[in-house]
Symmetry: C2
Subunit: 338 residues, 2 copies
């Protein structure tokens, strides 16, 4: 590989001058700058990012940490979509991304250690459940610039989808469609869940719809099996609900499976609503009513915040930016009049 040294001897200048010319420093004349750059290009010079990082302590690499119990990883379509937005924005700013995990090779290291080892300039962390995980809090409290998604950690910027708003949109819509017996299968215990749950309760109250505790059951995010089971239980009640709000779109599939097996059809026999607005929700029949999160923007915003943080462009307490989604009125919630 051709290095800065080769260019220097080719041009008859010192390596310092070459470095400065390539980095557009002001203390090298325009003519030599042009000359050096041209021969650099001609010789096919590429900077060595390792050497540069060693010297500058900046790798232009961002870490991505995604933790969840099920470890579905990249096949988690909501996460993949957010990551895609993050990746695009990061790349547009000259950053590459690297996944952070705890098992590099034989010997395991913590998330924080992995970040330090790889020297990432910052890290985005998204967890579907375990934000209280020891490894995660260690990282969030460390000196590594971090941004969190759907979770607020003091001292770090956060990007959250407006869960209260989303749930309100869904619940209001369901109420307006005339439903009085509304069930909610909520996800694992987490901040996100509690916000949605509270919003669900408050919205029903505001709409003058009674909240039946038997209709509010705990499921899991991104787990069709548990939703399938719970859906069966709900429709098996003496006084079953007329509508079920699912933890998320993917889990909703389990609910649909349960209903199919029971010979019930949606929305004729029962109404269903999801959450997330994943691509496939558009293609279900009937099309799923859901709250579509702007995943691309969530990811992109996270990247912007993180990069701003790295550049120390954020003076005071880092912001919590909220990204709104929008209600997708599919056809899985039936109008049942007043």
């Amino acid at each position: 590989m051709v290095s800065i040294k080769d260019i220097a001897s080719e041009c008859g200048v010192s390596i310092a001058t070459v470095s400065k010319a390539l980095n557009d420093h002001s203390d090298v004349s325009g003519s030599t700058k042009a000359m050096i750059r041209e021969t650099a290009k001609k010789m096919g010079y590429l900077p060595n990012s390792q050497a540069r990082a060693l010297k500058t302590n900046r790798t232009y690499n961002l870490g991505v940490l995604f933790v969840e119990r099920a470890s579905s990883g990249l096949t988690h379509s909501h996460f993949a979509a957010v990551l895609n937005g993050f990746k695009n924005e990061a790349e547009a700013n000259g950053y590459d991304i690297t996944f952070i995990n705890r098992s590099t090779g034989g010997n395991t290291m913590s998330y924080y250690e992995h970040c330090m080892f790889r020297g990432v300039d910052g890290v985005v962390v998204a967890c579907v459940d375990d934000f209280e995980d020891d490894g995660v809090t260690e990282l969030l409290h460390s000196k590594v610039p971090s941004v969190t998604i759907d979770y607020v950690s003091k001292g770090n910027p956060a990007v959250i989808s407006d869960n209260a708003h989303g749930m309100r949109m869904i619940a209001e819509y369901v109420c307006k469609m005339g439903h009085k017996k509304i069930a909610y299968i909520y996800g694992d215990t987490s901040k996100v869940t509690s916000i949605r749950l509270e919003s669900f309760r408050k919205t029903l109250e505001n709409m003058g719809v009674e909240v039946n505790e038997d209709y509010i059951v705990q499921g899991k995010y991104h787990d069709p099996e548990s939703t399938e089971r719970l859906t069966k239980e709900l429709v098996g009640l003496k006084d079953p609900p007329t509508c079920i709000i699912m933890p998320d779109d993917f889990s909703a599939l389990g609910g649909l499976t349960a209903l199919e097996k029971l010979g019930m059809s949606v929305p004729e026999d029962i109404s269903i609503a999801g959450y997330d607005g994943i691509t496939l929700a558009r293609f279900l029949h009937p099309r799923l009513t859901t709250y579509q999160q702007d995943t691309e923007r969530i990811g992109a915003e996270a990247a912007r915040q993180l990069i701003a943080m790295i550049r120390k462009e954020i003076p005071g307490e880092p912001p919590t930016v909220t990204v709104n989604g929008c209600l997708i009125k599919g056809s899985s919630v039936k109008y049942i009049g007043e």
Copy 2:
């Protein structure tokens, strides 16, 4: 950060000894090795991967290149699943992964240049269409160890799903279900497509089913819109097919949408088969008949081959490993007798 130097002065030995102790070289005594390692751990030492890479020319980073015209990136569920398998296997071997793109920061660089810049030890390349892209061939012909997925490039190992086998499984099954008028919407022109197409033709021939050229139309991979349009055209023929084989599962959704709009139901009015076996195919109603690729294994195998290549464990011509999938008999293909 605590460096090797700090450990050296703490232990009263030279940095060379520390380095050798940590890397388990044979020329340092067991007792000092143990002592050094212990204090290293006590001091919270972490190796600096940049410095190491600078010296050794090994980054333990693998590049991932995914090229497609639609640039759906990580939201492409089949690719995401393959990548997930790749990632898991890579991480188990101590490699991290980095995405390769051509726009790092303001100034663009070729894929090859990006690989060199980041110093990846190797790269996996998956393209849904553009394998003949200039940037891709430059990379594949370069000195960067590469493995290709679903494409064979001389000199590099390749992992391919058995497209001929897959299409044969599907076509045979459809024939056995009594279909005589079988349409095939194939994807973009590519090696994969031509293999599937050939297998489709040969299988029908072997099964004694006439191949109707009007039923064989070109669509696009991963593009429900084009499939929707083509499905409409196919069912609009004077003598419409009784079964349509789709380019892939995701595109199949477009076909289902078209049929829904036309008031036709699957499989009563027409049968549908997909390809890929993405997760959502399991949850469609009726469950989609498809050929499920072992995405996890494809990715993992690619990682294994790449790492073997990097370690120069592959003596002769690099292998082309084939990963079989299996037919998923859903309920979207109806038995229509002899």
